[in-house]
């Protein structure tokens, strides 16, 4: 037992001793400790250095609001977490933590020179200083600032932990399991409502954990608490989540909760995730977040050993640790007396209570007297002394006129301060609820809600245990509607709870020299705030950004109100007129892992696979992602480069036979008596006269007249079309079709059904395609006259039903074999087997792209970009000229769309046949035009054409259709390439190879 541990106090287990390491030194703590309480039990206050001035800092709180005691925790490789608040870090055996923001050591830190230079580093220092010369920005200022910026050390190894996430639904979500939240949960769950009660602490109880002497319903607080816990745990309709922080409150009562599952365990079972994100949809929400104590603003209020009074009380009552052996108190609020009294009774010497108020309650004064504590009412604290820990405070009387009298020094080893309490309205603010100013509390409290939410307890500005319990019970009952009856609680031994508000404490010294901190984490002082206002910042949002007040990871939990009050004073407006800055999620710093959940590694994104994917993988395919699919890109043989493989695949397809997995194409079945009329209205082409058994290339526009999608569409019968879409457009096209069908033309008798996944599609291309199919196909005459190009037949292949399309995306004799997806692989293998005599060659998307480019076939989204009309793309032939209307038709008649200077799709042949232009490269008219050169277009597709033995490209060029034969230039890194504008069809212009 160390000198600061108080036997018989707290909820720690004195028999469960734990070893831990802080900054390389080994210490002992108890099960139930936080790192902060364990360090304090060892007499360690000085635990870190501040962000900007590198001032020594101690533990200032006992909870999530901690702004000073931020440590790095090392749980092994891939498990390092910086900026963990020591006050909520549960101790476990072997815990290893380090302090931050120093070099070379916490005690001797070079950066502390910033503190001596503090007058030179006022608010806005960086904005003012690093402006010139501009040449210094990149080479000097940024590297220097980056090196010194940042808090803690970012981990570099991949996170070795797993993270879980889940959705949850409930009737009532209660945030905070202090007295108000517990009362709400007990009441709300009585009727059988599904209740989730979440609290960020390891155990429920909230303020009761630090207040064991008070009595509820005639029981000691902790006994009552245990009964409440058992009652809730026994109700199947209650989900009790501890170590669970509500981080954000979103629309329609959607809240994010992060549950910490393993951080408190020495070695977690490997199947356990570290954290679980709960995505909760609640019919009703009760916020019982409690309140956070305010620091007082005086010179040296950040010295190690200075902490919030309530924290001093928590360390004693909850953890059995006295924060000092000679404790001083400075306060403007009754609650600090309770800490002093409890500490005095526990045997800690309490030196003095300095109360800024002239007339504290008589009862408090009497109790102080009985405990032998001196109370200086109407006095102020004007300075602190001590290096690694406070040793003395300087106190002065303040007379009725505010005049500060002669100073007196008081020795102490800890100073507890209380500036009153601020209701935690963070989550209520996330939900866009309005905040009301409470003059009596000098604080904002929840006002008109924007969601189905109720607030209760200190977080609602309702202080005092009895009042909080009653308000919590009422909130819980209200969630159950008329069925709810609030549980009634009786409370004994409740302490007085009132106070006043002070900005900077009165002082006899020059206030411009005071280091009176507002934001401890970002090192913002009172004079920084006043300077910002003097320099012209009036909006609190601007003051915040200029001074960085409240912008640290603690989100201003202890600094926002003090910053606001001082800014309001400086501006000369009442605080509510200046207003509070916006609270944003997350409430406390949250690991990236919790947000990522399962979406990492193989599950980072969906990878869709065709039924033939496994064959491609087994046969050495290199894959590329195409929308969510992984598609075979090319099939290199051993030793082949990509270029060699693609060239071989192209040759084989043009000369004999290639086979390609086209299963990713979108497919939509359009069925009904009005199917042809529907197709007429959707697509540019005319469909009425398309005979069953024939296909047509279809072009789909947006209502703005630009190309959105394309594909071959087969008519299976008068009332049934088999529509294919691009791979990436499948879902979008179906949604668009449904949109028009349901909202514009509900009178049309048409049904749409996606069959994308029903059919595997195998494309066979090449002069020998028919020969391979013939022995395998039943019931379809493959003869060129019986089954011409752009026709579809239904029959069987290998005994499996097929929809056989005679289409070509390569310019060769081509078939697309649609078979039920489960047979895709078997049919593919049968075709490969049958094709061996013809050296059948599987090819990937790269060869497909190159072969189609040789024919000038566009790829929507590559050769078009949402600004290309059918005419621009050279496809006016695809427009049904006599149709009265189709989607996008009217837009094509707009003058802009007829402009001959529009960018139009053309071919490009480089002067040097070996030059393959970069896709996306800009095109200019002349190589010597003045910079900036007017850009007249860009390259959309570019390949080496194996067929032609040279490069080819497609490009969008202003007025390109009328410029064939002209020369343009393509600037690329290192060279300016000359190219000639051509037709888009490079191979077999007359299409002879198709009609065989």
């Amino acid at each position: 037992m160390t000198g600061y541990r108080v036997a018989g106090r707290g909820r720690v287990d004195p028999d469960a001793r734990l070893r831990f390491i802080f900054d390389g030194r080994s210490y002992e703590g108890l099960h139930g400790d936080t790192l902060a309480s364990a360090l304090l039990a060892n007499g360690v206050h000085f635990v870190g250095r501040s962000f900007k001035y590198h001032r020594p800092r101690g533990i200032m709180s006992a909870g999530v609001e901690e702004a000073n005691a931020l440590v790095g925790v090392d749980r092994g490789r891939g498990r390092y977490t910086p900026n963990t608040r020591a006050t909520v870090l549960e101790l476990y055996d072997g815990l290893t933590a380090e302090s931050q923001n120093y070099w070379p050591s916490l005690r001797y830190d070079i950066g502390a020179v910033n503190d001596i230079a503090a007058p030179l580093i006022p608010a806005g220092f960086y904005y003012k200083t690093f402006k010139w010369p501009a040449s210094f920005w990149n080479k000097v200022y940024e590297p220097v600032i980056r090196r010194s910026a940042g808090l803690g050390r970012a981990p570099t190894a991949p996170d070795a932990d797993r993270y879980a996430s889940r959705f949850a639904h409930c009737d009532v979500l209660i945030v905070g399991a202090g007295p108000a939240g517990l009362a709400a949960a007990l009441t709300a769950s009585e009727s059988g409502a599904r209740v989730i009660l979440a609290d960020e602490n390891p155990e429920i109880g909230g303020s009761l954990l630090s207040d064991p002497a008070v009595q509820i319903d005639g029981k000691d607080a902790w006994n009552w608490l245990e009964e409440a816990r058992a009652t809730l745990a026994g109700r199947a309709n209650v989900t009790l989540l501890t170590r669970t922080t509500a981080i954000g409150y979103y629309h329609q009562n959607f809240l994010g909760l992060v549950q910490r599952l393993t951080d408190h365990l020495p070695a977690a079972a490997s199947s356990l995730p570290r954290e679980r994100m709960w995505k909760v949809r609640a019919a009703q929400v009760v916020l019982a977040q409690g309140a956070i104590e305010r620091p007082l603003v005086f010179d040296g209020n950040d010295r190690p050993g200075v902490m919030l009074a309530g924290a001093g009380r928590s360390f004693l009552n909850r953890y059995g640790v006295k924060v000092g052996n000679r404790v001083a108190v400075v306060t403007v609020h009754d609650s600090a007396y309770l800490a002093a009294f409890d500490l005095a009774r526990a045997g800690a010497g309490v030196a003095t209570i300095v109360d800024l108020r002239r007339n504290p309650r008589a009862a408090l004064l009497a109790e102080a007297r009985s405990l032998g504590i001196e109370v200086l009412s109407g006095w102020t604290v004007t300075a602190t002394k001590g290096r690694a820990r406070i040793a003395e405070i300087r106190v002065n009387p303040v007379d009725q006129n505010g005049k500060v009298g002669a100073a007196r020094m008081i020795g102490c080893d800890a100073l507890l301060m209380s500036g009153g309490w601020t209701p935690s309205v963070h989550l209520f603010s996330h939900s866009k609820g309005a905040l009301d100013w409470r003059e009596d509390l000098q604080a904002f409290v929840p006002g008109a809600p924007n969601e189905a939410v109720r607030c209760a307890g200190a977080g609602n500005g309702t202080f005092g245990l009895a009042a909080a319990l009653a308000e919590g019970a009422a909130a819980g009952a209200a969630t159950a509607g008329s069925a709810g009856t609030p549980t009634v609680f009786s409370v004994d031994g409740e302490a007085p709870f009132s106070g006043v508000y002070f900005r900077e404490l009165p002082t006899d010294r020059d206030p411009t020299r005071a280091k009176a901190f507002i934001d401890f984490q970002n090192d913002v002082t009172a004079k920084d705030i006043r300077l910002a206002v003097r320099e012209g910042f009036r909006s609190i949002e601007h003051v915040k950004r200029y001074t960085t007040n409240g912008m640290a990871t603690d989100q201003g939990k202890t600094s926002n109100i003090n910053g606001l009050m001082i800014a309001a004073d400086a501006v000369g407006k009442p605080a509510p007129e200046v207003g509070l800055t916006t609270f944003r999620p997350p409430y406390t710093p949250t690991t990236f892992g919790a947000f990522v959940g399962y979406s990492r590694d193989a599950h980072f994104e969906v990878e869709r696979k065709t039924s033939i994917d496994s064959w491609a993988e087994a046969n050495g395919a290199v894959f590329e992602p195409v929308s969510l699919w992984r598609r075979a890109w090319y099939f290199p043989r051993s030793g082949e480069s990509m270029h060699e493989a693609v060239a071989r695949e192209c040759r084989a397809t043009r000369r004999s036979l290639g086979i390609f997995d086209a299963s990713t194409l979108g497919k939509i079945e359009v069925v009904g008596p009005d199917a042809a009329e529907f197709m007429n209205r959707m697509y540019t082409n005319a469909w009425t006269k398309l005979a069953p058994g024939r296909c047509r290339y279809g072009l789909l526009l947006g209502e703005d007249g630009f190309i959105r999608d394309d594909g071959v569409i087969g008519r299976l019968s008068d009332e049934r079309f088999h529509v294919t879409t691009t791979t990436g457009g499948a879902a979008r096209v179906l949604a668009t079709m449904e949109d028009y069908l349901q909202t514009e033309w509900p009178d049309l008798k048409v049904w749409l059904t996606s069959t994308s996944e029903q059919w595997a599609v195998i494309a066979l291309n090449g002069p020998n395609a028919r020969k391979v199919l013939e022995p395998l196909v039943q019931g379809i005459d493959l003869n060129g006259e019986a089954f011409p190009h752009m026709a579809v037949r239904e029959g069987k292949i290998c005994g499996v039903p097929t929809r056989l399309f005679r289409v070509s995306f390569t310019g060769e004799l081509g078939f697309e074999v649609n078979v039920p997806a489960r047979f895709g692989l078997s049919v593919w293998k049968a075709l490969i087997e049958q094709g061996r005599p013809y050296d059948i060659t599987p090819y990937g998307t790269e060869t497909m792209h190159a072969l189609r480019a040789e024919k000038g076939f566009i790829i929507v989204g590559q050769d078009t970009d949402g600004t290309v009309t059918p005419h621009d793309a050279g496809m006016s032939w695809a427009i049904g000229k006599t149709k009265p209307d189709f989607v996008g038709k009217r837009s094509l008649a707009r003058p802009d769309m007829q402009d001959p200077k529009r960018k139009q799709l053309v071919g490009l042949l480089t002067e040097k046949p070996e030059t393959v232009l970069e896709e996306g490269a800009q095109i200019v008219d002349g190589p010597y035009a003045a910079v900036p050169m007017p850009m007249i277009g860009h390259v959309t597709s570019s390949y080496h054409s194996e067929t032609l033995g040279r490069s080819i490209a497609l490009a969008l060029i202003q007025g390109g259709h009328g410029r064939k034969g002209e020369t343009v230039y393509v600037p690329m890194p290192g060279a300016m390439h000359k190219a000639t504008i051509t037709d888009t069809v490079f191979v077999d212009k007359e299409g002879a190879k198709l009609n065989v």
């Binding site: 959705f167 979103y250 629309h251 329609q252 009562n253 959607f254 995505k279 949809r281 866009k432 924007n450 209502e703 703005d704 879902a731 179906l734 949604a735 449904e738 949109d739 349901q742 909202t743 514009e744 509900p746 009265p884 209307d885 038709k889 009217r890 837009s891 008649a893 707009r894 003058p895």
Partner: protein, 93 residues
């Protein structure tokens, strides 16, 4: 994330839906009879109000039906969901 009540499937998370912009803009029956300005107005001009907005949503991951939603663009309160073709409900400002 919004909770949207599909008129067919019931309340579902926003992630099941896709947004279809302002509602109650009927496609002109005879686009050719419109001037360029009128057509541009149909194509591009939207109210974008601060307040109640009548808009279209599609239950993309559910029944694939389109429907209308009355949503407040500031508070994000959803006051009404109703089927295509139904008139917009009157909402007190």
């Amino acid at each position: 994330m919004f909770l949207i009540s599909c008129p067919f499937c019931g309340p579902r998370e926003e992630s099941e839906f896709s947004y279809g912009h302002e509602g109650h803009i009927a496609r002109p029956a005879d686009p050719d009879s419109l001037s360029d300005a009128e057509w541009a107005d149909y194509l591009f001009m939207r109210k974008n109000p601060k307040g109640w907005h009548y808009e279209r949503w599609n239950h993309a991951r559910g029944c694939r039906r389109w429907f209308n939603v009355a949503r407040h663009t500031v508070t994000h309160e959803i006051r009404a969901v109703y089927k295509m073709g139904d008139p917009p409900p009157a909402i007190e400002p």
